[in-house]
């Protein structure tokens, strides 16, 4: 304890130097707190942007459809099945979907679109798409009655490309499950801007029943998209759903075992549905260790320099201390304590400042559009329109200071060892 006291008093002796070092350390820690909070927010936005709008965090398909999507690779969803899935811990909602590809357009213009047949209410519970309407409205709860055209909601960009808006007619032409050609008249009731490029550019939402009719898929679906409470526990939730349904989590081509039955149901979390996105996110979430390395290296060198300098200045003093009986171990501890106190104190200040700024960006948000020319920042098909919010997690607040204390310990070792090895007589005499 006495060494700690002496250590702190020693630090106070050269306030300028200690203060500057402290500032450097605090700045490094504050920066790391902010970076981690930013990364958490960014990763969350990416995952949400990639999964929430379109896929959900967990999906169920037939193994055959998961391997190669084909219009005939469908399955039946019963009310009990929907209830079972909704009852699984961590599940928010589930949306049964028919997924088709077809030609959508009119006499002047057409393009290939993805047609999602959805239950308007369940889709609204599962994804935020209905909230992203920019013109018109979302699908009404019940399909339009024949001979009224079937209602569709279009991605905004697709609507622009086809030059249609709410009230306009469209024709859909597609290959149905039985190999025949389905065609029908559609009416645009709304357009959506989701920030998900694939949805905005090429997706058409229509009533589940309408899509089933056009594609000759009576009572069938291709996909059950499931929203979960925790993005990062999608894998565990998928496992629970698979158990509840008696379904599998291994695809046709996964693993070494025999190929799975094509008709069997396959439950997959988003990292398996969007593997490239998952890899990119894993990589990014690890990349801040490089930032750690760079920032903390600078801080560590500063700390080392301070400690070495201060030890050298006090060399004669240390010689006297040892001459009157201070043990080398105590000397070692005293110097090390100085480093640790610097690290911990700087860390505390840094954590406080960093957390404050992060909290600000978590509440007010950060405008990423500042970094681009055209007002919208898009990355891997996810648009960050408006603001991105940092997330102040306990990890963001605690990890940087803990790592800093460790760095301070390592940086203090060398000056401490050097001081502990002083030979009193020549040191006092100024000969060493």
């Amino acid at each position: 304890m006495i060494s700690a006291k002496i250590g702190i008093r020693n630090l106070a002796r050269n306030r300028w130097r200690s203060g500057l070092t402290l500032g450097g350390i605090a700045l490094s820690v504050a920066f790391m707190v902010w970076i981690i909070g930013f990364m958490e927010g960014w990763l969350g936005t990416m995952i949400r942007g990639a999964t929430a709008v379109e896929t959900g965090q967990v999906q169920i398909h037939t193994a055959g459809f998961a391997d190669k999507p084909r219009v005939y690779r469908s399955f039946t969803v019963s009310r009990e099945m929907l209830e079972t899935v909704a009852g699984v811990d961590g599940v928010v909602a589930a949306s049964p979907r028919v997924k088709l590809n077809g030609l959508v357009g009119h006499e002047e213009k057409s393009q290939v679109g993805r047609i999602f047949g959805v239950d308007p209410i369940l889709e609204a519970e599962t994804t935020p798409v209905p909230e992203t309407i920019v013109e018109g409205r979302w699908l009404s709860p019940d399909p339009a009655e024949f001979p009224r055209p079937r209602e569709v909601v279009l991605g905004e960009v697709m609507a622009q490309q086809l030059r249609v808006g709410p009230g306009d007619e469209l024709v859909v032409f597609l290959e149905a499950a039985d190999g025949s050609l389905g065609n029908d008249l559609l009416e645009v009731v709304g357009t959506v801007r989701t920030g998900n490029t694939a949805v905005d550019r090429m997706t058409v939402y229509m009533h589940l029943e309408d899509a089933r009719f056009v594609a000759a898929l009576d009572g069938q679906v291709h996909e059950l998209a499931i929203a979960t409470t925790n993005l990062l526990q999608a894998r565990e939730t998928a496992g629970l759903i698979a158990v509840a349904l008696g379904a599998q989590t291994q695809g046709v081509r996964d693993g070494d075992g025999p190929p799975a039955d094509e008709e069997a149901l396959l439950v997959r979390p988003w990292p398996e549905i969007l593997p490239s996105m998952y890899q990119m996110l894993t990589l990014s979430s690890r990349s801040y260790w490089i930032t750690y390395l760079l920032i903390y290296l600078v801080a560590a060198i500063g700390l080392l320099n301070t400690q070495r300098m201060s030890a050298l200045e006090r060399k004669r003093e240390f010689g006297v201390l040892m001459a009157i009986g201070m043990r080398p171990r105590k000397m070692f501890r005293m110097i090390l304590t100085e480093s640790l106190v610097l690290g911990a104190l700087g860390g505390l200040i840094g954590t406080f400042v960093g957390a404050l700024i992060t909290w600000y960006h978590a509440t007010i948000g950060l405008n990423l559009a500042l970094f681009t020319d055209h007002g919208e920042y898009t990355f891997m098909g996810v648009a960050f329109s408006g603001r991105m919010y940092s997330i102040l997690t306990p990890m963001a607040a605690l990890q940087p200071i803990l790592v800093m204390v460790l760095v301070a310990f390592l940086a203090g070792l060398w000056p401490a060892v050097k001081s502990a090895r002083l030979d009193p007589a020549p040191t006092i005499a100024g000969r060493q």
Binding site: E107, S110, V171, L181, L185
Partner: protein, 275 residues
């Protein structure tokens, strides 16, 4: 759909030459190389002049106008579909094909005019333009492509032909190897036509892309229509799915019959499709 049907539909006015245009020197060189290619066994069948053969093939289905009814059988991995089609053509560009059965698809039609290619959706009672980006996509779920329908010119406009003799399953055929002319807007990097030596009737066509066989078309059931021997059945087999095929068979084929211009308009099409 398919070079031959396509050309039937395209119907070129008589006298217009859509041949590989070879210069005089090239023709002589070709004739010489053709002669060299004849092996002793095949010596009794001389290789005829390439332009005469291609001219003949091109003329085979040529008509000012035509009417036909066809049965198209599409064999896919998951089952077989049988469609009955009715088709009209006039001049270079105008073609209308209407599906008559099965009931679910009856009335679905494809219209080709000089302005483009449309599908007619009978439930919607609307036309939908087929964008140029979809030309290599399947036509009506068959193994034909929209490009087969849409091509404005004969293959012979875009390709140079070299004629030789070759054996296929023990029978000697004239073999025409077609390679694209420089800068020709083509889908295939090479086509090989096998043509009977006596009647100059196409027997088999192979379509290549980058040296790989993509699909083949075989011609069967020769009949005499308007004084010409014409294959009435065509079988197209995609090379990547050898179990699959599309068979088109003429039930009726009339060449140079009167066809009303109006049928290629929106109203006429609608009437024909509902008919």
């Amino acid at each position: 759909m398919g070079a031959i049907i396509m050309r039937l539909m395209r119907s070129v006015p008589p006298g217009r030459r859509i041949l590989p245009r070879l210069g005089g020197v090239a023709s002589i060189l070709l004739a010489v190389s053709g002669a060299v290619l004849i092996s002793p066994v095949e010596a009794q069948v001389p290789v005829p002049d390439v332009s005469r053969v291609m001219d003949y093939i091109d003329d085979l289905y040529r008509a000012q106008s035509s009417y036909s009814s066809m049965r198209m059988t599409v064999v896919r991995e998951r089952g077989t579909r049988e469609l009955e089609l009715e088709a009209w053509s006039k001049g270079d560009d105008e073609t209308l094909i209407v599906i008559r059965s099965p009931a679910r698809e009856a009335g679905t039609a494809t219209l080709r005019t000089e302005d483009g290619l449309w599908n007619y959706a009978p439930r919607a009672d609307r036309l939908i333009r087929i964008p140029t980006g979809l030309l290599s996509d399947s036509w009506m779920g068959s193994h034909f492509t929209n490009d087969d329908l849409m091509r404005e010119t004969s293959y012979l406009d875009d390709y140079d032909a070299v004629l030789s003799l070759d054996e296929l399953a023990g029978v000697t055929y004239l073999k025409a190897v077609l390679t694209p002319k420089p800068d020709a807007p083509v889908v295939y990097s090479e086509m090989i036509w096998y043509i009977t030596t006596e009647d100059w009737i196409p027997y088999r066509t192979e379509y290549y892309d980058d040296g790989n066989l993509i699909r083949s078309m075989t011609f069967e059931r020769i009949q005499t229509i308007s004084g010409k021997k014409i294959p009435m059945r065509m079988i197209i087999v995609p090379e990547d799915e050898p179990e699959e095929r599309t068979v088109v068979e003429y039930l009726e084929l009339e060449l140079d019959v009167p066809v009303d211009d109006e049928i290629f308009t929106r109203q006429g099409l609608r009437r024909a499709a509902r008919g």
